[in-house]
């Protein structure tokens, strides 16, 4: 039944114009009918209608105007109907965003369903609806699903992460949190999907893998095959950053080291560099992937092969050969990809595939691209031992009916001939025989290859040149004719009798030749004129005259040039002396090399390798590190149990300390020793926990400071006020400041400050040792606060109330992630305005800290208030309502990207270190021509800090200016550097927030290119 209806649809379709007007009335009535069916009470009718609609979608027909009718059925009990509605929804939701929102509540309900399949499919559809408004709902759903009991739902959550990321990249930070959580998942079902999400969202966060590395290696065999591919590719990348190279020069030597030991005296052993010992984790990866070479999935086998290629010691590489050759039995497309990879491998390591040479023999039924690849591999595999077999095989190919393939074979023979000198003569003779072939392409290709070969050793081959001259009349392919002429000219001294005769013939046919042949005729004439001017002078004159009036300007130019060069006259004195040396210079022989030579810059098995050009999203495989990074990062300890006892012991120690310090009161030295101890404790703690997340870190610092305070509050010594001030400044970051300020007694303030100073001292010690990130985030005061204020509400629209705002560039006191704003409200009416406030209901997502309502504003008076807005690191406008007693005005604030930052200070070394971490897609840069008045250091600094709220980093290098800041909401680093290279300047911005980075780049660019203040 369905089949019939589908057919009738297609008939009608083919008759009418695709999107034409004629189709419209037909569509209308058709869809009316479907609409009716969808609105009926009968499930079967609805189902039938949905099936037809899916048929329309499958054919690519537009069925979007049925959206309202379809979306009603989203809550249907019939599961098949529901699924079809889902299919429809995912297809059209992007186009009909408002209507799509109607279905959201159904999914939210389904997310709580006891049936895991329903939960999962609800999440799938919810996350597939590409409607930006529901991003927060999606985020919430993903977070919830990531902790679901069912691994299937968690898997779906991992997929949803990628969808949300592509919909709204700003959610990256939150998504990374979810990925981090899911990476810890022990289910094999989840592993592949979450690694996929990792690769898509944050491939540079290799630190998230450390703890999960061993688990992933061990789970790998049980993961479903598609997941295996993704995980293996990711682990390849990981391993290249974490382990040292197993490809040591002395690797072979090491294998025989036992022998060497017996042979030689002790000293020699000592002299030897430390033998390479493979990291056990490196070995684990190789060991656990090896069985996967037996997988039935070709993608898995290829993935393992590339892993071995990029990671294993050279002598272990041979195990992949058989598996790769096995893949050649698979489908045509698989063969194509595998052969490409083998071609790249065979250039570097012939030995690997030589025993399997016969597997690469070409069959007449192979597709052309497969034939060419096999030819390529055979050429790469050729060596002295097997060349005769290969050449015999090539002879068969030359006779192939597929002439393009025959031509490629001739090229391959040429390659073999240059690479293996023993067979050069044999090959040449074979090629000369081909010159009498009936097929033009074969002959042409042979001539071209012979030409290349002769260039390497011309003297012995004058008879070949003679032979070619004899055949010349029968050859019609221009490229071949040109090649022969070039050979004649180049080696005219070897064939002194024949060359002038050829020139004579050519003079006759000059006008009928192709352009490239004409050029070579002119060339030949010139060369003969120089070597044998007696015989050819007139001929040359004639040809040059012909060339002078040729239609092609290249030939006219060449003729003019040659004439000036070779015919001596008064004008061209100097150059013609060198004519012989110019024209008859010995030319280097062309190098015949494989087309796959440069492909090894790409990771094997990737799309980029196949295309030999970088595809978007290609992740570079890094070089081996010279020194292995810390191995212990992969040690998995159960984190919680380790931490807790540690804390206890620490507090014990602390209590001891307090006893001690109370016993030795008001002794500076004791406090010092005290602090020393604490330092040790902290260091110990640091060693235990390698990667605490930032919140945790802050909390710990805070608690440490507090504890020190508690212990030492009896101490009392004086600190100069400027130090107090400094300490306070630095410690603003920690909420500690509130505690200090809340204690009013001067005695307390003093001792607090000393303690704070201690804390700062400790914290600095800390940072220098282990937490580079923390140092870098020292907040500092803004370098420059612009005075300009922006209009928020004009007095005309505000019925007399006018408002202006400006960015104070100070850390906001209302919340850590808020940008602080100063609002100036003025009353331009002649009556007092009452109860000025911001309405409670905020229209957009931003979190706004409102100013306290102003009870009364007298006429012509103005008042300044401050407020905070959490822009969430985006330049979206914050919309809110400014209300008076009578009226409401909608106003909006659009922040410039530079205002979403807070300045920070850091050392130059830290800056470069952080910059080094934020490369790749996190880096945006541009080169500009700087206006002269901006060249001085002050003006660059001024320009940049006026555009963005950044801190200036003292720079050791001249002409490089560095600025650092962090985003207000997420605290991500933003590093700006301007390198002046007169008259250009290179601006580089490094930040995880790539969107902000590029916006900032644009603004800095305009600031530096514009003249004026």
């Amino acid at each position: 039944m369905l089949g019939m209806s589908a057919n009738s649809v297609s008939y009608n379709e083919q008759g009418s114009v695709e999107s034409g007007v004629d189709a419209a009335p037909w569509f209308l009535c058709r869809n009316e009918d479907l609409k009716e069916m969808l609105e009926s009470n009968k499930e079967s009718l609805k189902l039938e209608a949905m099936k037809r609609i899916v048929g329309l979608i499958a054919k690519g027909k537009n069925a979007s105007e049925l959206f309202p009718a379809v979306v009603k059925n989203v809550a249907s009990k019939n599961i098949e109907l529901k699924k079809l509605v889902y299919v429809y929804l995912v297809r059209y939701a992007e186009e009909q965003q408002d209507l799509a929102l109607l279905s959201i509540s159904t999914f939210q309900r389904a997310l709580k369903d006891p049936n895991q399949l329903i939960r999962a499919s609800a999440l799938r559809v919810l996350s597939s609806i590409r409607v930006p408004i529901i991003v927060p709902i999606m985020m919430l759903a993903i977070k919830e699903a990531a902790t679901d009991l069912s691994p299937y739902v968690r898997k779906t959550a991992a997929h949803a992460i990628q969808k949300l990321f592509s919909l709204d990249p700003d959610q990256k930070e939150h998504l990374i949190e979810v990925i981090e959580k899911l990476l810890k998942d022990k289910s094999t079902l989840v592993a592949g999907s979450v690694v996929m999400a990792f690769e898509e969202v944050c491939p540079d966060r290799i630190d998230l893998i450390h703890k999960n590395y061993r688990k992933l290696c061990n789970l790998l065999v049980d993961v479903e095959e598609w997941g295996q591919v993704v995980i293996i590719h990711m682990l390849t990348r990981y391993a290249r950053t974490q382990f040292v190279s197993p490809w040591r020069e002395d690797a072979v030597f090491d294998e025989n080291s036992e022998k060497a030991f017996y042979d030689s005296e002790e000293e020699r052993r000592v002299d030897q560099s430390k033998p390479y010992i493979m990291d056990p984790d490196h070995r684990l990866l190789l060991r656990n992937t090896k069985p996967l070479l037996q997988s039935r999935n070709t993608a898995v086998v290829m993935a393992v092969s590339q892993l071995y290629w990029h990671l294993s010691p050279k002598h272990e590489l041979s195990i992949i050969t058989k598996s790769l050759v096995r893949l050649l039995r698979s489908h045509r497309e698989v063969q194509y990809i595998v052969l490409q990879n083998i071609a790249t491998m065979s250039i570097q390591r012939k030995g690997m595939f030589e025993p399997f040479m016969k597997s690469f023999y070409v069959r007449s039924t192979d597709a052309t691209h497969i034939k060419t690849l096999k030819l390529e591999i055979l050429t790469n595999l050729a060596n002295e031992a097997n060349i005769s077999t290969i050449l015999r095989e090539f002879q068969t190919y030359v006779k192939s009916q597929d002439k393009a393939f025959a031509a490629a074979t001739i090229q391959a023979i040429g390659c073999c001939a240059t690479n293996i000198s023993e067979v050069t003569d044999t090959c040449l003779n074979g090629l000369v025989l081909l010159l009498s072939n009936r097929d033009e392409t074969v002959v042409a290709e042979s001539v071209v290859v012979i030409k290349k070969l002769l260039q390497t050793q011309p003297s012995q081959h004058s008879d070949i040149i003679k032979h070619m001259a004899k055949l010349f009349d029968n050859i019609t392919v221009p490229m071949a004719r040109a090649s022969i002429l070039w050979l004649m000219g180049e080696y005219c001294e070897h064939v002194p009798k024949i060359a002038p005769d050829v020139l004579r013939k050519m003079a006759k046919t000059f006008t009928d030749e192709e352009d490239i042949v004409k050029l070579q005729i002119v060339n030949l004439a010139a060369k003969l004129y120089l070597t044998n001017s007696k015989q050819t002078k007139l001929l040359t004159q004639y040809i040059l005259n012909l060339g002078k009036y040729d239609q092609n300007y290249d030939i006219r130019d060449r003729t003019r040039f040659i004439r000036q060069l070779i015919v001596p006259n008064e004008k061209s004195g100097a150059l013609s002396k060198y004519a012989r040396r110019i024209l008859m210079a010995p030319k280097p022989a062309p190098v015949l090399q494989s087309a796959f030579k440069d492909r090894d810059r790409f990771q094997l098995g990737t799309l980029s390798h196949t295309l030999n050009s970088q595809a978007s999203g290609y992740l570079e495989l890094s070089d081996w590190p010279a020194v292995a990074p810390d191995q212990s990062v992969r040690n998995v300890e159960v984190v919680e149990p380790v931490r807790l006892p540690l804390r206890e012991s620490e507090s014990e120690e602390n209590s001891n300390d307090s006893n001690k310090s109370s016993s030795s009161q008001s002794e500076k030295s004791s406090s010092e020793s005290d602090s020393e101890k604490k330092k040790k404790t902290l260091k110990n703690k640091k060693l235990q926990q390698q990667k605490p997340d930032s919140k945790d870190r802050q909390k710990r610092i805070r608690s440490t400071c507090l504890r020190i305070m508690q212990h030492n509050y009896s101490l009392n010594y004086y600190l100069p006020p400027q130090i107090i001030q400094k300490t306070l400044n630095i410690m603003t970051k920690y909420i500690l400041i509130h505690i200090v300020l809340s204690i009013s007694s001067p005695f307390f303030v003093n001792c607090m400050c000393s303690l704070l100073h201690l804390c700062v001292f400790l914290a600095c010690q800390f940072d220098a040792v282990s937490w580079p990130v923390r140092v870098s985030l020292q907040a500092s005061s803004p370098v420059f606060v612009p005075e300009t204020s922006h209009e928020l509400l004009h007095r005309m629209t505000g019925k007399g109330l006018s408002a202006q705002y400006r960015f104070t560039r100070q850390p906001c006191i209302y919340g850590n992630s808020m940008v602080s704003l100063q609002l100036t409200l003025s009353n331009r009416t002649d009556q007092a305005l009452e109860n000025i406030h911001i309405s409670e209901k905020s229209s957009t997502g931003q979190n706004i800290h409102r100013f306290n309502a102003i009870e009364r504003l007298e006429p012509q008076a103005s008042v300044t208030v401050s407020m905070g807005v959490d822009f969430n690191d985006s330049t979206q406008t914050a919309n809110f309502q400014l209300c008076t007693k009578e009226d409401e005005f909608s106003v909006s604030i659009q922040p410039a990207v530079g205002e979403l930052l807070l300045p920070i200070t850091m050392s130059e070394a830290d800056f470069t270190k952080e910059q080094g971490k934020l490369v790749g897609m996190n880096e945006s840069s541009a080169t500009i021509t700087i206006t002269p008045e901006n060249v001085s250091s002050q003006s660059v600094n001024r320009k940049v800090v006026s555009v963005a709220n950044l801190g200036v980093i003292p720079s050791g290098q001249e002409n490089i200016y560095r600025f650092a800041g962090k985003t207000v909401s997420s605290g991500s680093l933003v590093l700006v550097s301007v390198a002046l290279k007169d008259p250009d300047a290179m601006i580089t911005i490094n930040t995880e927030k790539t969107v902000m980075g590029s916006m900032l780049l644009r603004q800095v660019k305009t600031a530096l290119t514009n003249s004026g203040p």
């Binding site: 589908a6 054919k59 299937y152 999935n297 993608a299 993935a303 598996s323 039924t365 009936r438």
Partner: protein, 418 residues
């Protein structure tokens, strides 16, 4: 990963499209059509085609191009393997994978594609799991569904998804418990003019059809496992056990599956079961050519060579062929110049032959190459490598299953150069 999928038939019509992310306009296929036009044969279309914004990865099966649209870096084999898996699934569901079958079952196709990929990443490709989610269409089920209003779509998560044996569902029940294994070997060979073997190798597979109740655990052992040089397994096979004891131990999927594919080590001499005597010649200056072909059995271990089919791509200059087969029928397509001769069974007493003349284009020069002859054949009850199954045991269930093993040898890519 995979953005969209387009199905294109031999005449270049897009007859199905499916998008997993934002919709990609079907105009992207124009790049594919361009490549198709450039290719002389349908097989010559490059599998990976770059376009300014996307990459098209295509596979050709059953005269249908499956074109996947990719936007960023992905291992190409991943996509190719997946597309082949899609085709296999269609074949499994509808019996054949043709344009008509896909169009008739467009809703099931859509449901399948929806389950197989989520956001372009494979979700469920195991046929066992898919069949629980979407039941294959049968006439009986269609009738029942229309009467009872039940659907083809499963309401519960397939048990396989979560278990450690995702390939097998729980609660399988059969009245007749049976397990059949087919050992099928293919010979790939290139024979040169003089009849000597240039290259020959044997590839084999063990296909199984297992219909057993419950959760049986099977072990299969070979008499001569050393023959197997390189193997690849269905995921159900326990690799460690194979490494240690050379025994295949596995919990089988339900129904048909490929247990094992193998390659017989190249050290062993490969027995070539047929020989060809040929005499194909063209004379210079004459518009006639001679064609003689005789087939004969060789090293067949006493088994009959059946279903023999000879095909050859004759040179372009050949206008027609006037041949006389001693048995079977032959056809010659003057457009594609493809000669095929359906021989049938080779009778060792009376060798089949095909003799006659070819007429050439007048004035055309003599073709400089003789055609290659492709041969297909089958030999029942013989694994040419000599591989033999020793025994099959079942653990974990109490009943006694019916067991059967079948051997067969086929020609793979068997070519004779003349």
């Amino acid at each position: 990963m995979i953005h969209s999928l387009f199905l294109i038939n031999a005449s270049g019509d897009i007859f199905l499209e499916k998008h997993w992310k934002s919709v990609v306009s079907r105009s992207v296929c124009d790049y594919f059509f361009e490549a198709l036009e450039r290719a002389t044969e349908p097989e010559n279309v490059p599998p990976v085609i770059p376009t300014p914004h996307h990459f098209l990865i295509n596979v050709l099966r059953h005269r249908i191009y499956f074109v996947a649209v990719i936007q960023s870096e992905v291992p190409p084999l991943f996509v190719i393997e997946f597309l082949h898996r899609v085709v296999d699934t269609f074949q499994d569901y509808f019996g054949v994978c043709t344009e008509a079958a896909i169009k008739d079952n467009v809703v099931v196709v859509y449901e399948l594609l929806e389950e197989m990929l989520d956001n372009g990443f494979p979700l469920a490709t195991e046929s066992n799991i898919l069949k629980e989610l979407i039941k294959p269409p049968t006439i009986l089920r269609t009738v029942v569904n229309t009467i009872t209003g039940s659907t083809n779509v499963g309401e519960q998560l397939p048990t396989g998804q979560l278990s450690v044996v995702p390939w097998r569902r729980t609660g399988v029940k059969y009245t007749n418990n049976e397990a059949y294994f087919d050992v099928v070997e293919e010979i790939d060979a290139i024979i040169d003019k003089s009849g000597s073997t240039i290259t020959a190798e044997i590839q084999g597979v063990v296909d199984a059809c297992v219909k057993l109740t419950g959760m049986p655990d099977l072990t299969l052992s070979f008499m001569n496992p050393r023959l197997l040089d390189d193997v690849s397994f269905h995921p159900c096979v326990r690799f460690k056990r194979w490494e240690a004891e050379r025994i295949l131990s596995f919990i089988p999927p339900d129904g048909n599956f490929r247990l094992l594919s193998y390659h017989v080590s190249s050290q062993n001499l490969v027995a070539i079961p047929v020989y060809v005597k040929h005499n194909i010649s063209f004379r210079e200056g004459s518009s006639q050519g001679r064609f003689e072909l005789t087939l004969g059995p060789k090293q067949t271990m006493g088994k009959a060579v059946e279903s023999v089919l000879v095909s050859s791509q004759l040179p372009r200059g050949v206008l027609n062929a006037n041949l006389n087969p001693s048995q079977g029928t032959y056809t010659f397509d003057p457009v594609t110049k493809l000669l095929s001769w359906d021989v049938g069974k080779i009778n060792p007493q009376k060798l089949p032959s095909l003799k006659g003349s070819m007429s050439l284009q007048t004035g055309a020069s003599k073709p400089d190459e003789n055609p290659t002859i492709n041969i297909q054949f089958k030999i029942q009850q013989l694994a040419i490598s000599g591989l033999k199954v020793n025994r099959l045991d079942m653990y974990g269930e109490k009943y006694k299953p019916f067991k059967g093993i079948k051997y067969m040898t086929k020609a793979g890519k068997f070519q004779v150069r003349t």
